[in-house]
């Protein structure tokens, strides 16, 4: 099994074309998605294409053997459950920069093929007390270090990784929704019906890191874009935000970035008096907030994009 996973990953890493590689290397593992392609009888077209093999040799293959690689989970389920070694992901959300543009939400919904009306990122209008000012507060999964959802899950379908990310295995989730009751941040959503996704997306094997495809009768939530981190890229919400609200990074490296600016995490949190939501509950979130002081935008500027004003959003 281990070897099979490795060889699968190699195919993807080298960006090779599956059928050709399996024919040449002759190592197509049985019972994988390439099997059908390997057994297929293809008439050579005579047109040759140069390719780089798994062991680094340049080889020539007939074009007729070329088949597009089906979407594969970038890592196996057991690897996805462990996480990226040496990392401890953290996010900082700067409330002084948010004007409820919802670009983060749109990018997230698009990247994860969410159902219409379903949002993993919510931007709430907040007002802490009568005389304090209103502000916009984006919420994601807090990826708690002491996650109440993980504690209550009866089947280990939602789990905490070594790199701090809390993920969901939708192939295992039984849909009891105890995690939704347990989460004080109400971050979890449920696929009440069959997700409205294209057949192509629905046919993909599920990956905990991409959270795609969402499945009927299972729970979904923000996954900190674990697949993007594995590729060394920022989560979709971070790169989609034009105002630099989100900064994402690694606690072990003590740095977070919103794409344009990079901060030393400890300085940022200390200087701007960062805090976490509902600290008193002891959930130890991985998402920090910078208080909404010296705001870049008036609160009212965000109202036009608000879901209460525009129920469609």
């Amino acid at each position: 099994m281990e070897q099979e996973n490795n060889s699968r990953r190699d195919f993807l890493v080298t960006g090779l074309v599956a059928a050709a590689a399996s024919v040449v290397a002759g190592c197509a593992p049985k019972s994988n998605v390439f099997e059908a392609a390997a057994d297929e009888q293809v008439m050579p077209s005579g047109k040759k294409v140069k390719l780089l093999s798994v062991d680094g040799e340049v080889i020539e293959v007939d074009a007729a053997f070329l088949k597009p690689v089906p979407h594969m989970p970038p890592v196996s389920n057991s690897e996805a459950r462990i996480g990226i070694p040496g990392k401890k992901f953290v996010m900082v959300i700067d409330l002084s920069r948010c004007k409820n543009l919802k670009k983060c939400q749109a990018a997230c919904n698009h990247a994860h093929d969410l159902n219409p009306g379903e949002n993993w990122i919510k931007v709430d209008p907040m007002k802490n007390s009568e005389h304090s000012a209103p502000y916009w507060e984006p919420t994601t999964c807090m990826h708690c270090d002491d996650p109440p959802c993980v504690k209550v899950c009866p089947v280990d379908a939602t789990f905490k990784r070594q790199d701090g990310i809390v993920l969901i295995d939708s192939d295992r989730c039984i849909g009891c929704r105890f995690c939704m009751a347990a989460c004080p941040y109400s971050t979890r959503v449920f696929n009440w019906g069959a997700p409205q996704i294209s057949e192509e997306v629905a046919a993909q094997p599920y990956s905990c890191e991409t959270s795609i495809p969402q499945k009927k009768g299972t729970v979904g939530k923000c996954d900190f874009c674990a697949d993007m981190s594995r590729m060394g890229e920022l989560p979709h919400c971070v790169s989609a935000c034009p105002n630099g609200v989100y900064a994402f990074g690694d606690l072990n490296e003590d740095s977070v970035t919103n794409g344009a600016e990079t901060f030393r995490f400890s300085d940022l949190i200390r200087d701007k008096a960062g805090y976490r939501l509902m600290e008193d509950l002891g959930t130890k979130p991985s998402v920090y907030y910078l208080p909404p002081v010296n705001r870049n935008f008036p609160f009212e500027s965000g109202l036009e994009t608000d879901s209460l004003q525009n129920p469609k959003n």
Binding site: V152, V155, G175, C176, F178, S186, N191, A194, K216
Partner: protein, 437 residues
């Protein structure tokens, strides 16, 4: 003396043997089956389209299925109260009620297990609970204790039945060949030998002792499904005891209703006497006041403090959206039955039965109030969700499944009462002899 005894025995046996359904019984069973089938159709739709057919959404992620589950677990506790507690306390007057209580317990725990599967979003993965189960989840605790309680309840129904089955087998022409075969299959090994009686008594005693902690555990663990979360209205150390008190009340309430119905339907006035209603009425009033006490305990202290997160929830119950249901449940489920039963005249069969019905109906709505209002008062605002997510009223499928399961419980009780004597025959005979001596 010997002779008159045997006449009395025959009379008892004749009175208590299971009877074929009359016209009313057939109609009753038919109606229950029809409701169950309609519930099954609704469940078929739910399996096909997913939980989208319910009105549950991301905020109210648990609805009347879970309320109903809590309700059934609560009712099933009565088996341990009437059978085990009274038996261990050496109370004999409750003998004619034990089998009714056990039948209710078995029927309710079966449907508690079924309804929790109905609530699952991916029931086809139920086996994951066994291959991937994690002991730290209260759901796994619930699975373990409910399974245990189910088997103990079945045994506690079965063992005391053995002497009666021996009697049933002597009336072959009455039961018909198929039932006889069934009786023979489950009970022909019972010859009524003194050793068997000794062993049976011992086994029943062990079951009675074990069922009490297990019964407390099933309902305490069920309360922990809520109390282990942070949410206002659930985050309470009072929850275990509050649930147990409520469970004993609704269980006793359902028993007095069943007593009344069986007494009327099978003319058992000589066995389930007015005195039984008088005594059960006293127990019911005590339990109603106990549950009222736990309710005051549950609501008064947060009400006194009115913490920000609790305030919205409590206002919703006391004066807001849920106030009508809330005060209805308190009045119907506790206060009015208490007032009825405090008077001697209120402890006649009919008023006791009415009080019992009120207790059961009030208890069902109380379970609804335990689940839903809390979920509609999350810590963060309900925002960026479709408008329908901010309210909850069950869909017809949810009602159909709920009524189907309620009908299912009554159907199981009806079938058990058709197959087995509602009142333990052998024990009644033995006790008559003891009284005579």
């Amino acid at each position: 003396m010997e002779n008159s005894d045997s006449i009395a025995n025959n009379k008892i046996i004749n009175d208590l043997l299971p009877q074929k359904f009359g016209k009313a019984g057939k109609i009753w069973t038919g109606v229950l089956v029809a409701i169950c089938l309609f519930g099954l159709y609704a469940y078929y739709r739910q399996l096909r389209y997913g939980l989208i057919v319910t009105s549950m959404r991301d905020y109210v992620s648990w609805g009347i299925y879970i309320s109903n589950f809590v309700f059934f677990v609560a009712i099933s506790l009565v088996g341990s109260l009437i059978t085990a507690v009274f038996r261990l306390a050496g109370v004999h007057w409750s003998t004619p009620l034990t089998r009714i209580a056990e039948m209710i317990a078995v029927a309710a725990i079966i449907f508690a297990s079924l309804i929790i599967i109905v609530d699952m979003g991916s029931p086809e993965r139920f086996y994951n609970l066994f291959i991937h189960g994690r002991l730290q989840s209260p759901i796994i605790w619930d699975v373990i204790v409910i399974t245990t309680y189910f088997f103990i309840s079945i045994l506690l129904l079965y063992f005391p039945l053995l002497p009666d089955i021996k009697i049933l087998l002597t009336f072959k022409e009455r039961s018909g060949p198929r039932l006889n075969k069934f009786y023979g299959y489950i009970g022909s090994f019972w010859k009524g030998l003194p050793e068997q009686y000794k062993l049976g008594d011992k086994a029943i005693n062990i079951l009675c002792i074990t069922i009490i902690p297990v019964a407390f555990t099933i309902h305490t663990v069920t309360s922990w499904l809520f109390a282990t979360t942070y949410r206002p209205g659930w985050d309470s150390t009072n929850f275990g005891a509050y649930f147990i008190a409520g469970a004993f009340l609704v269980g006793a309430g359902s028993v007095v209703v069943a007593m009344y119905v069986f007494r009327k339907a099978y003319h058992l006035e000589k066995y389930i006497t007015e005195d039984h209603f008088e005594k059960m009425g006293r127990i019911l009033v005590m339990l109603a006041m106990l549950y009222l006490y736990f309710n005051i305990n549950e609501f008064l202290t947060p009400f006194f403090k009115m913490k920000e997160s609790e305030a919205a929830y409590l206002n919703g119950l006391f004066t807001g959206d849920f106030s009508v249901v809330f005060w209805f449940a308190i009045l119907t489920g506790m206060i009015v039955p208490t007032i009825i039963l405090l008077f001697k005249k209120g402890r006649k069969p009919l008023p006791v039965m009415i009080a019992g019905i009120m207790v059961v109906i009030g208890a069902w709505f109380k379970r609804y109030l335990i689940v839903t209002p809390t979920l509609l008062h999350p810590f963060l605002p309900m925002h960026d969700v479709p408008a329908s997510y901010r309210h909850y009223f069950p869909s017809w499928e949810e009602w159909a499944i709920t009524f189907g399961s309620l009908a299912g419980v009554m159907l199981v009780i009806t079938i058990l009462a058709r197959i087995f004597p509602i009142i333990p025959i052998q024990e009644t005979i033995t006790e008559q002899h003891e009284i005579a001596e």
